[in-house]
Symmetry: C2
DNA sequence: GTGGTAGCCTAGGGCCTCTAGCTTTCAGGG
DNA sequence: CCCTGAAAGCTAGAGGCCCTAGGCTACCAC
């Protein structure tokens, strides 16, 4: 009975990789066990259940994306920061569709609080320092930016833009230009 | 052997209702059969398989939402149209989370073409008639609007805005103001 | 009445989740 | 060098979901 050397961490990483390959919905405990050459039941000493596994993948993805965002923001301000951060977001979604999908599951407040989710809001807020916005406009703008990034990434990944000839790269670039203009012309209360 | 009177249409409608109640991911052929007081296998003469069922729910939701959008747009133009359409979109997502989730699955090109998906783009484009935009800016703006509506609706539904005190209603209203400003100041090429 | 068809059924196989309880490996202390 | 306890795996098995194959039955049209 040779040990496969399974740990919770390796398991979650494998699950994330599998998600990127076959889709988050198709990640199963059984498939994962097969990948490690081990029986399904053996994995339950590392994870509580399938839901737990999914949540861990979500937390991993949130942390990875937060790191990328932080790198993108480093040393940039204003539109530069906006573009760099937005690209980090979209690129991650394109490179890691499974991980990105995992991020969308509804985390319990406790898990969400312990995750990197907060860093995402902070960073989006940091971008706005390059623009002249005070509360509550800032919060509204954060929500708009986050919505737009997320919406664009998911719609593009789901092929929602395929039916129009216009290439998504140019559209994305223009969308960022537009958001920059928007933040500069934010309607005052 | 009393007949339960199952038809594909009633099945799809029941699936959609169930999705709104327990979440789209938890809609199962078995649960649906139980609801009709019928065995699982009996449903397979009405639907091809579980995936087929999901697609039909998606198509139903797309059509319903398109109808609401059309009603909202009737007799309105400019910002009025923008706000009415956006609200129709968001309200539908709030009232019918399961149906809304169904709309996000990746439809095959054939099914997508036969669905009301095209009407959605058309309507979004119609809103832009109130603003002065020509191609390719129009397509880019359509994508931005759609992304933002969709992103806001999904993030709000997933509770992504819960951690900030600011109420989502006001944020939404201001977001629409901002989008109106944006369309009026769209960066020219 | 009598067909035909549509609606339901039983039987059964395959995959996935998860629990319970047992065996083996391995590291560290006596 | 042996012993032992924890960690890593295993088998068995129950339950749920998906789906196919093939048979029965209610109902409508003629």
């Amino acid at each position: 009975m040779a040990r496969a050397g399974v740990t919770a961490e390796r398991l979650v990483r494998a699950a994330a990789d599998l998600a990127d390959e076959v889709g988050f919905d198709n990640v199963t405990v059984s498939a994962l066990a097969r990948g490690f050459g081990v029986k399904d039941a053996s994995l339950y000493s590392h994870i509580r259940n399938a839901q737990d596994l999914r949540e861990r993948v979500a937390v991993l993805a949130l942390a990875e994306l937060a790191d990328r965002g932080a790198t993108a923001l480093a040393g940039r301000a204003g539109k530069d920061a906006l573009v760099a951060f937005a690209n980090a977001y979209r690129d991650y979604a394109k490179e890691h569709p499974g991980r990105y999908a995992a991020m969308q599951i509804d985390l319990t407040p406790e898990i969400a609080a312990a995750s990197a989710a907060g860093r995402h809001s902070e960073m989006t807020r940091a971008i706005l320092r390059g623009y002249d916005l005070s509360e509550p406009d800032q919060t509204d703008a954060v929500r708009l930016l986050h919505s737009t990034f997320h919406g664009y990434a998911t719609l593009e990944a789901a092929g929602g833009f395929r039916h129009t000839p216009r290439d998504t790269e140019s559209s994305w670039s223009r969308t960022l230009d537009a958001l920059d203009v928007l933040l500069n012309h934010w309607p005052r209360t």
